[in-house]
Symmetry: C2
Subunit: 115 residues, 2 copies
């Protein structure tokens, strides 16, 4: 079993064969993290209900929360207008970030200084 | 004037010198689009209050809404835990997507079919 060819045909993958995955908590709207998917990761995300990515550091499929228990239950997946990004709405168990934070964007707010 | 060296030092750019920018409507939480920034685009976003990206198709800086009028007023910018993505919260005038849709993720919902 692999990714629906009709979906696969709409993807615009980067040179590494990946599309970006923006991961959002479905009810609060918090943006949790940015990850990457190859065709197989997208297929598993759509068919298992568990958010699955391609780990660029480990160079392997990565079921989010597989070791930490901080899994993501998939609610919806949408492809963007040019086919190179997906928006994955999930129900995140505990924190999404490996640092323990709820989201990967909690720790480093940049200063806006209008000139 | 260029990007604050303390911020620049925390960025982990891709081979094209870019970080991903997830763009979110600040009050409703809608994810509007995924774009890309080089150092100069991030600098301008932080100092002009107008979301500015690097257009990979036109290979130039791109002030969102410059021609369409669909500008993005920047509310906050946060860097993620590994420095390769920013979350830009904005107030979006009209639609974010070049198709006329409110967001770039409105048109193509993928089917979730649990096995």
């Amino acid at each position: 079993m692999s990714l629906d060819p009709k979906v696969a045909a709409r993807l615009k993958r980067n040179p590494d064969g990946l599309v970006a995955a923006i991961v959002q908590q479905y009810d609060t709207g918090e943006v949790l993290m940015l990850a990457w998917m190859n065709d197989e990761a997208l297929h598993r995300t759509l068919t298992t209900g568990r958010a699955t990515y391609w780990s660029r550091s480990r160079d392997q499929l990565w079921v989010k929360g597989e070791t930490s228990g901080h899994v993501q239950h998939v609610k919806s997946v949408a492809l963007d207008c040019d086919g190179d990004a997906v928006l994955v709405k999930v129900d995140q168990v505990d924190g999404a970030c490996h640092t323990g934070d709820r989201t990967c964007f909690d720790a480093d707010q940049l200063e806006i200084a209008l000139g």
